[in-house]
């Protein structure tokens, strides 16, 4: 089960990387970035996952008895943080992309832009 997680997350990362490298549309690039991020988040969760594990909450005697079967909670905390960060980045990047569209009349990252503006 963990392996499935790891492989699917890795494939997500590579799909995303492919998108970032090959797409020219800025929005598509940002989507691809988000795909990578999802992949990595999944990877982190997978790292903390234990086959047949239980929730890491000390609520009952059973959970105290099976401490070593508990899923590691730290990666999940990390993932939560990184999702927030990703959200922020994406939002900011999208707002920049809008301005990019206004200034360049294009959403292609190859829009011939900055040169020639300098005096």
């Amino acid at each position: 089960m963990t392996k499935v997680f790891i492989f699917s997350s890795l494939s997500l990362i590579f799909v995303g990387l492919f998108g970032v490298l090959t797409r020219k549309n800025i929005v598509k690039i940002l989507i691809a970035l988000n795909i990578i991020e999802t992949g990595i988040n999944m990877l982190l969760v997978a790292f903390g996952y234990i086959e047949g594990g239980i929730t890491p909450i000390l609520q009952s005697d059973l959970s105290i008895a099976n401490l070593n079967k508990m899923v590691d909670p730290v990666p999940q905390a990390l993932v939560l943080t990184s999702i927030v960060i990703g959200l922020g980045t994406t939002a900011f990047a999208l707002s920049l992309a809008m301005r990019y569209k206004n200034t360049h009349n294009s959403v292609s990252i190859r829009a011939i832009d900055e040169e020639g503006v300098n005096i």
């Binding site: 690039i29 990595i40 990666p75 990047a93 005096i119």
Partner: protein, 482 residues
């Protein structure tokens, strides 16, 4: 010393407040920056160094902690001084976004220097790049928007890599604390260690402007206003250097036993070569500075990658020299380019005659970057050359190439200086004399370090000492905390 957290918290609060303060923003900016500076100075003076602050009371390997050691406090000071000098360049800015981003940047860079936790470090890095992207985009024109967007895409890709690396560290070592990682690292097998270091480095090198991770540099320097350039250089750059020193030398010292250091040597001298060669033909002064700062970082990285204490010492001298010199150059560039309304240095003819202090400061800074004797940069260059030649063939070839590149650097910098002094009528130009004073004082500082490096030597010695005796001076402080 739990109050050390204020260094991060107060700017963050200010970032919030700045949405409402409107015209008071500028004052707040000065107050907060001065607070950070004075606070860090007070920490330096207090004599309590080193100490460790566990956030929320969680003991070191388990919770997030802030560590203050010699290295930390020096870099903290560098970051905050850079902040103070940079904000003197801020004029006529009304938009709250700028201030908000600035406070975030201040908090993030302070946090980067203070933190003792890998994931926290990643967070602060992400936050600082975020802030820089926002600041770069501040001008809202084609140039800055494109630059900011590209920088953002690049840096978030890079930080995803480092996130993956952090995941791997956690998976293999079960900890994210710097000190704990350093202790447990020996149990790691070679392949996973390599993978971790490579993934982490690839995000690190983006900030350190090492080729081929540095394609954002020129655009963002060109697209942003001077104070932002100085933020990028003085705050983000310095914090990045701190990260490199802390993580490469103390957390991952095993790296020097692998081939990664060889790769780093190659990349860093390529960075120097490419940076200098490109700057040769460039007419836009800001871009020249961008290329040159890439090259300087390459030189720093070269010293770091060599791994001997001699070369690290040289690298630290270079950091000091580059830190001051670039600051001087940005200020001079700003004053001059505002005066003639052009960034092409050929249009700045004759300004050096009317405002000699600025031009002389620029020249001194340039000479220091070239590694000329009697200027701060020389000691760094000297140390690096000596240790590179003792290291081996690759390093010797590398240092030869770097020296050739520094010839190119000399030629273009002195050509620019010459242009400042050449004759042209510039009567209609006006620069406030007050602004001439800051770079001149900094330039005198460069000279002072160059002629009598004893004080810097003391600081550098402390830093090296901490690196040498990392278990005593860093790791045990954190882990033995009750």
């Amino acid at each position: 010393m739990n109050s050390i957290v204020f260094l991060v918290v107060i700017p963050l609060i200010a970032a919030f407040l700045s949405l409402f303060l409107e015209s008071l923003n500028k004052a707040t900016m000065y107050i907060v920056t001065l607070f950070n500076l004075i606070f860090s100075l007070a920490v330096l003076m207090s004599g309590n160094i080193p100490f460790n602050v566990a956030i929320g009371g969680y003991r070191a390997p388990f919770g997030i902690n802030f560590v203050v050691t010699d290295i930390t406090i020096y870099f903290l000071l560098l970051v905050n001084i850079a902040a103070l000098i940079s904000i003197t360049m801020v004029k006529n800015i009304k938009e709250y976004q700028f201030y908000s981003f600035y406070f975030v940047l201040l908090a993030a860079t302070n946090g980067m220097v203070l933190t003792g936790d890998m994931f926290n470090f990643y967070l602060f890095t992400e936050l600082s790049t975020f802030a820089i992207a926002g600041l770069v985009a501040y001008k809202r024109d084609r140039l800055s928007t494109g630059a900011a967007l590209k920088f953002l895409i690049l840096s978030s890709t890079a930080s995803l890599f480092s996130l993956a690396s952090i995941g791997l560290i956690y998976k293999t070592l079960g900890t994210l604390n710097f000190a704990d990682i350093a202790v447990k690292l020996s149990s790691l097998n070679q392949a996973s260690f390599n993978l971790i270091v490579i993934l982490f480095l690839s995000s690190m090198l983006v900030e350190l402007k090492i080729f081929p991770f540095n394609l954002w540099v020129v655009k963002s320097y060109e697209g942003s206003i001077t104070s932002v350039n100085m933020f990028t250089h003085g705050m983000l750059g310095t914090a990045g250097i701190y990260g490199a020193i802390r993580i490469l030398l103390i957390v991952f010292p095993n790296m020097y036993k692998t081939n990664i250091s060889t790769v780093l040597i190659i990349l860093s001298f390529m960075t120097v070569l490419i940076g200098e060669v490109e700057a040769l033909k460039e007419k836009n002064l800001v871009k020249v500075l961008a290329f040159s700062s890439m090259a300087q970082m390459g030189m720093f990285m070269f010293g770091l990658a060599l791994g001997s204490f001699e070369s690290i010492k040289g690298a630290l001298y270079l950091v000091v020299s580059n830190y001051i010199a670039k600051m001087v150059m940005f200020i001079v560039t700003k004053q001059y380019s505002n005066a003639v309304d052009s960034k092409n240095y050929n249009d700045m003819k004759g300004l050096g005659r009317k405002y000699p202090l600025l031009a002389i400061s620029f020249t001194i800074a340039a000479l220091s970057l070239m590694g000329m004797p009697f200027f701060a940069g020389f000691w760094g260059k000297f140390s690096i050359v000596v240790s590179a030649l003792a290291t081996g063939k690759l390093a010797s070839i590398g240092i030869s190439l770097i020296l050739i590149a520094s010839v190119v650097e000399g030629v273009y910098y002195l050509r620019i200086s010459h242009t400042f002094f050449s004759e042209k009528d510039v009567n209609n130009v006006n620069i406030s004399r007050v602004y001439c004073l800051v770079p001149f004082v900094l330039a005198i500082l460069i000279l002072a370090i160059g002629i009598y490096p004893s004080y810097v030597e003391q600081v550098v010695f402390n830093i090296i000492d901490e690196i040498k005796n990392a278990p005593d001076k860093y790791i045990n402080i954190i882990l033995s905390l009750k």
